[in-house]
């Protein structure tokens, strides 16, 4: 049996909370119990883990963003009926059943949070990072969005309106970042490569190649 290593032991810089002793052993024992009772199928569990660990992630969302940047009619469809437009690229499903896309402009910056827990658009971004589910982000995003953005290295000008979207219901939000200047010649694939997860949550802008994260 493999020794149990808790996350907090493993990554002291990134997990200040603790886990119960031997979570690995406890979860393993529970899985065995549920398998023994015929309640779960290990192969189905493997499919779920493999899908969200390896197949679904922010590259999906990046493809949606890049398509919207190069195809005006796609962008129009994306902003008016996100579910259908995202499905055009083959992305749909669990925790993305009801999608809304928010367009950043020179005067509007959108930021997505789930103050109550961890709601996040899985089909286009995968599972959320720890910081998105953490108390600091959840508590501050609504009361001090500009401070949060500064912490991520993004200083917004006063004439930009910040819109924070709290995912309190079953709507899931994806930010359509501004296309960076200097990217006019890039292909759709090259554009998609520029788009980061953080930009699609709204805590960053997309930078053209060779640019820093500044205004």
């Amino acid at each position: 049996m493999t020794p149990s290593i808790s996350h907090s032991d493993d990554n002291p810089d990134h997990e200040h909370q603790t886990v119960p002793s031997d979570p690995a052993l406890r979860v393993k024992a529970l899985e065995s119990l549920l398998v023994e009772k015929g309640l779960v199928d290990r192969a189905a569990l493997d499919v779920l883990v493999d899908t969200y660990e390896h197949k679904v992630g922010p590259r999906n969302g990046a493809r949606v963003v890049a398509r919207a940047w190069i195809d005006g009619s796609y962008k129009t469809r994306l902003l008016s009926n996100a579910d259908a437009a995202i499905a055009e690229l083959g992305y749909a499903g669990m925790q993305g059943e009801h999608m809304i896309v928010l367009e950043n402009t020179a005067k509007v910056h959108n930021l997505v949070v789930c103050t109550l827990c961890s709601c996040y658009p899985w089909p286009v971004l995968g599972l959320p990072p720890v910081w998105y589910k953490s108390a600091p982000y959840r508590s501050r995003a609504v009361i001090d969005p500009r401070g949060v953005l500064r912490e991520f290295g993004l200083q917004l000008l006063d004439d930009v309106q910040v819109r924070v979207w709290d995912s309190t219901a079953e709507l899931r939000y994806l930010v359509l970042p501004q296309r960076p200047s200097g990217s006019e010649e890039l292909s759709e694939d090259s554009l998609a490569a520029l788009v980061t997860r953080d930009a699609m949550i709204g805590v960053a802008n997309v930078m053209a190649p060779g640019r820093g994260n500044h205004i």
């Binding site: 909370q17 549920l34 023994e36 779960v40 499919v47 059943e97 609504v142 500009r146 004439d159 219901a169």
Partner: protein, 221 residues
């Protein structure tokens, strides 16, 4: 419930700690737990609102102390016990008591693929009338239910504007307690940042909160 999970606007939680090149799961058990929760959910003995409420019921000090998945594990055990899938003695010993063994798990490989691809929509195609219209001024009710709710404290008794009508959805406050779906309209409600936070907030900023009909009342004159 006025739980510690309802964090919007709280102070003192510290700096945001964003990990570079973060793995999806920090240890294999997190992935197994993630999958187990979906696989057991397929028995339909609870719903997403029940599972959210179970996490909120983790005592506040524990909630803050535990990691995200550790917190979910505690809540998952409670749901399994409440639904009668396992007993405390089975969890403690890890050994199944003699008894019925299910011939077919609720979630097979094929069903897992379908779940991933289709999800579990919570909208309902029902002719429920909307109580509010886009552009209308509304006030979030000043309510403090001891059960589950998705109306965050920071929005209660605050006034905003209906920005969008999302259509009809299951109502969490009843669904979380097996009291029915009570389908009703959900709206995106725009609250000015200063309405929520006072003069310290930037005048042009706003917070949009998705709120059900039962959370809202017409704005006071």
């Amino acid at each position: 419930m006025n739980g510690v999970h309802d964090m919007g606007g709280m102070h003192g939680m510290g700096a945001i700690d964003a990990e570079i090149n973060e793995p999806v799961f920090h240890a294999p058990w997190e992935g197994r737990l993630f999958a187990l929760r979906r696989a057991m959910g397929a028995w339909r003995r609870w719903n997403i609102d029940v599972s959210r409420h179970a996490v909120e019921m983790v005592p506040p000090a524990e909630y803050l102390r535990l990691s995200y998945y550790a917190r979910q594990f505690e809540a998952f055990l409670e749901m399994l016990l409440n639904a009668g899938f396992v007993t405390r003695s089975e969890i403690q010993t890890g050994i199944a008591a003699s008894g019925e063994v299910k011939a077919t798990p609720a979630l097979t490989i094929e069903q897992a693929a379908a779940l991933i691809a289709k999800g579990v929509p919570t909208s309902r195609d029902l002719p429920v009338a909307a109580r509010f219209q886009v552009g209308q001024r509304v006030r979030a009710r000043n309510m403090h239910p001891v059960g589950h709710t998705r109306l965050p404290r920071y929005a209660r008794a605050r006034s905003g504007t209906i920005h969008r009508d999302h259509g009809v959805f299951v109502f969490p406050d009843t669904n979380a307690h097996f009291l029915g779906e009570k389908p009703q309209h959900v709206y995106s409600v725009r609250f000015g940042a200063r309405e929520l936070w006072g003069e310290q907030a930037a005048e042009q900023d706003a917070v949009y909160v998705d709120l059900w009909d039962d959370y809202l009342e017409p704005a006071r004159a």
